[in-house]
């Protein structure tokens, strides 16, 4: 259920796996591809084997800290058009405060730790790697 996927993310399916009478609060976060400038889609690629392991580690760490919480993570790979979700986190907990905290924690960690990369696809067919600082770089290297 935690996975990298090339299909559209179904939030309802994820909720079905996690919602229960044990957990009164469920917080979902969806990251959606934005229409920044002339971007029509983002092509996501990953170091698959590591990303899968990292998701398992991230959830393990969160569940050690919040034992009553249940967490699902899905990240899309491949071309995701503007307006569709690229990542979904579902965090359920007995109470809402914990559900919000865990969900927020997970998206921050995912952004920091999953070996996944974005390439913006523009209306004219060109594409640019996205620098995590938010700046785009065409071919050049801004990391040091």
């Amino acid at each position: 259920m935690n996975k990298l996927t090339r299909a559209r993310i179904s939030v309802e399916a994820l909720l079905g796996q996690i919602q229960s009478g044990e957990r009164g609060g469920t917080c979902v976060f969806l990251g959606t591809v934005r229409n920044d400038g002339d971007v029509t889609a983002i092509d996501y690629s990953a170091y698959d084997e590591m990303a899968r392991e990292e998701i398992v580690r991230l959830i393990g760490e969160a569940q050690a800290r919040w034992p009553a919480a249940k967490i699902i993570v899905q990240h899309r790979l491949g071309v995701v058009p503007v307006g569709e979700a690229s990542v979904a986190i579902v965090a359920a907990a007995p109470h809402r405060d914990e559900a919000f905290t865990v969900c927020r924690h997970m998206i921050e960690e995912i952004k920091k730790r999953l070996p996944i990369w974005k390439k913006e696809i523009h209306a004219d067919g060109t594409s640019t790697w996205v620098d995590p600082s938010g700046k785009q770089i065409a071919g050049g290297l801004r990391d040091s």
Binding site: Y47, V87, I107, K118
Partner: protein, 82 residues
Amino acid sequence: MAEITVRFFARYAELTGCQATSVEVPESATISELLERVRETVPGARDLPPRPLAALNLRQVKLDARVSDGDEVALLPPLSGG
């Protein structure tokens, strides 16, 4: 000697025109030392940044981590998932 599988991702794979290669370094070499070998032997790798992110056997590590025969080292552009 240790034979290390080196993998390149995203922009780094474009830069080297390569997704994976095999590099020999002395047993217990550091990732920094491995990187020097990569720069010497893989075309395009000279343009890698001086201190890229690296993963050893699917875990992010610092550049002073040491490798052993059969290890997989990945060079990772700045992460931008989510």
